[in-house]
């Protein structure tokens, strides 16, 4: 394998509600930095049916080029069809790095593609960098083993691939009118060649909790002691008009559903205010909330790592502090209204 042949940074462009998914915009931002450091092109790869109009957005967010596969066979995401397009394109144009959102689609596609190439794939990356000289991708993620990060490399294979968590990278401000090069590709793939068929898509009407959109999150941890104790978190959330978040241990204990879990295996959130109450602050939790505007920690252990990752902290018993907080908050907010 001649590494010289492999050039450029690619981002797999995922679609959400007929627009470019926000994670793809974030990856274009991250990819732009890598491409500039290496002095190479940033390209998007866009696969779907009637998707060509999305290239505009992809350029505005930083891409120099977009490879487009726009064919009816790509109407629905299917591993086999999308994989064929991506393998085809990679073989032809040989990128050095391909980034995917760590969404269910991104992970599904990346895992399949990496096996066929074959090449290394780093999952759920939260930090990205590249060696200027060698083009070696430095993909870092929290590692099993506690409060540590691990940098994962793929030295002997190209392209290098990583899935990246949403909400951890920053999209660039869009530049209206910025354009680039559209490369239209097609593959000859017949419906009979694909062994799966999407029969139906069911959108669930019940609005699912989306804590990643909340301005204020009140998150509780195992320190609340029990399901009953955890209700204190709901009370504070209600008082301040925030959403409820939780650590994984709380979710595993069954005090709240998984949709509320913040962190590596939960949701990444960036609210304006984040309360971490009775949460120790393990790295897997921190990566999911560290970009919040204002982080307030309440924990009875002065040494808890959460205090290293917050803006303000109160050392104390949640069952003493939080009721006072609720009371004072109610007072303050009602005064506001009177005025």
């Amino acid at each position: 394998m001649d590494f010289q042949d492999y050039q450029g940074v690619w981002v797999f462009i995922e679609k959400k509600d007929e627009a470019v998914a926000s994670v793809s915009l974030e990856l274009l931002g991250a990819g732009r930095k890598l491409a500039d450091k290496r002095g190479v092109e940033l390209a998007g790869i866009l696969i779907g049916e009637n998707v060509k109009h999305l290239t505009k957005t992809v350029f505005e967010y930083g891409a120099d080029k977009v490879y487009v596969y726009d064919q009816p066979i790509f109407k629905h995401y299917r591993t086999e069809s999308f994989m064929r397009a991506l393998l085809d394109c990679t073989e032809k144009y040989k990128p050095e790095i391909i980034l995917f959102g760590a969404t269910s689609t991104g992970k599904d596609l990346a895992s399949a593609v990496a096996t066929d190439m074959p090449t290394g794939l780093t999952a759920d990356t939260t930090e990205l960098d590249v060696e200027e000289e060698t083009g070696l991708l430095l993909a870092s993620r929290p590692a099993f083993g506690g409060n540590i990060m691990a940098t994962i490399l793929c030295k002997k294979y190209r392209p290098q691939m990583a899935t990246v968590r949403s909400k951890v990278m920053k999209a660039l401000p869009p530049q209206p009118g910025r354009t680039g090069n559209i490369v239209e590709e097609t593959i000859s793939l017949k419906e009979e060649d694909i062994r799966t068929k999407v029969l139906e898509i069911v959108r669930e009407t019940v609005k699912k909790v989306r804590i990643d959109e909340a301005d204020i999150i009140v998150a509780g941890g195992k320190g609340l002691g029990s399901f009953e104790g955890f209700q204190l978190i709901h009370q504070l959330a209600e008082t301040v008009g925030g959403a409820v978040g939780a650590s994984r241990d709380v979710v595993e204990a069954g005090w709240i559903e998984h949709a509320h879990q913040v962190g590596q295996t939960g949701v990444t959130v960036t609210p304006k205010i984040y309360f971490a109450i009775g949460i120790s602050g393990a790295i897997q939790h921190i990566v999911g909330m560290k970009n919040s505007g204002l982080i307030i920690a309440i924990n009875k252990d002065k040494e808890a790592p959460i205090f290293q990752n917050c803006h303000y902290g109160i050392v104390g018993d949640a069952f003493e502090i939080v009721p006072i907080l609720i009371e004072q908050f109610k007072n303050a907010l009602s005064k506001e209204k009177v005025r």
Binding site: T79, D108, L138, F144, Y312
Partner: protein, 275 residues
């Protein structure tokens, strides 16, 4: 008669694992090894399908010798056969090398009884990637179906399966040809307490144990550390921010100070208050 193979892994129980306060890392020795919780759901689903359509459930794992215990847990859930592939040459495998080795084991299992369906967990709680399942599917050249949270139908005569795949805002119903591979969500089922006869069977059960030499057509270069394109280059403590400011005084005073900080962002609360 369906033959379903569930892929399982033994993992340290991260819930019980203790932290080393000095190094701030997990002390693995304190962690008991358990069956990866996601894989318990994979085995349970396989057992339910067996009960629905008739058939046999085999479980396969690559791991160190004590992984026999994870296999026994699967027998308790209702699996019929267990296969452990264990060898020093498997050690240090990343997801690509893992899927290679497990695939070789499945190919050997399929020699005695063709496999109709493979079920994996969504992810392992230590590896935490969800990459091994789709990897196995690609190596066997069968369709991978990830995020499965319901199996609607398996039709062996006509050779298809219909499942629900979880999407962010709902689900899709997908039909796939058999054989195929599912990676299942935890929500697909609940794993009940095992019935006594299964416990007794598990206690006595002796899994098939294979080394690399028992497998066929293995390219040694693709195994373990050597066969792993990804390497962990360094492990580092994330840079610590300066850390938070602690408030002082009585709890009540501390809350007051906190409130004055938070209320600087008053606009957040006013909007909510008006609703």
């Amino acid at each position: 008669m369906l033959h379903i193979v569930a892929c399982i892994k033994q993992v340290p129980d991260t819930k019980i694992i203790k932290m080393n306060p000095k190094t701030n890392t997990m002390d693995r020795r304190t962690a008991p090894a358990i069956l990866n919780p996601y894989d318990a759901h994979a085995v349970e689903e396989a057992v339910r399908l067996k009960e629905r359509y008739g058939g046999i459930v085999s479980v396969v794992t690559m791991g160190p010798p004590p992984a026999v215990n994870a296999i026994k847990t699967c027998i308790e859930i209702g699996a019929d056969e267990g296969y452990l592939i264990t060898d020093r040459r498997f050690a240090g495998a990343d997801t690509l090398a893992t899927s290679y080795a497990v695939t070789k084991a499945i190919e050997k299992i399929a020699k005695t009884r063709p496999v109709d369906l493979i079920i994996c967990g969504k992810m392992s709680i230590d590896g935490d990637t969800g990459q091994v399942g789709p990897g196995i599917a690609r190596r066997l050249d069968i369709p991978p179906l990830t995020s499965v949270n319901k199996v609607e139908e398996i039709n062996q005569e006509e050779g298809y399966a219909i499942v629900h795949r979880k999407l962010e805002d709902g689900y899709e119903v997908v039909k796939s040809s058999l054989p195929c591979l599912f990676s299942v969500e935890k929500t697909i089922n609940e794993v009940p307490y095992s019935p006594l006869p299964n416990m007794i069977k598990a206690a006595r059960y002796k899994p098939h144990i294979w080394s690399v030499d028992d497998l066929e057509g293995v390219d040694i270069k693709q195994l373990g550390l050597k066969g792993s394109p990804t390497i962990v280059s360094k492990v580092w403590a994330p840079q610590k921010p300066a850390g938070g400011t602690f408030f002082e005084g009585s709890p009540r005073e501390q809350v007051e100070q906190l409130l004055s900080v938070v209320l600087e962002k008053r606009e957040l609360f006013e909007v909510k208050g008006e609703k």
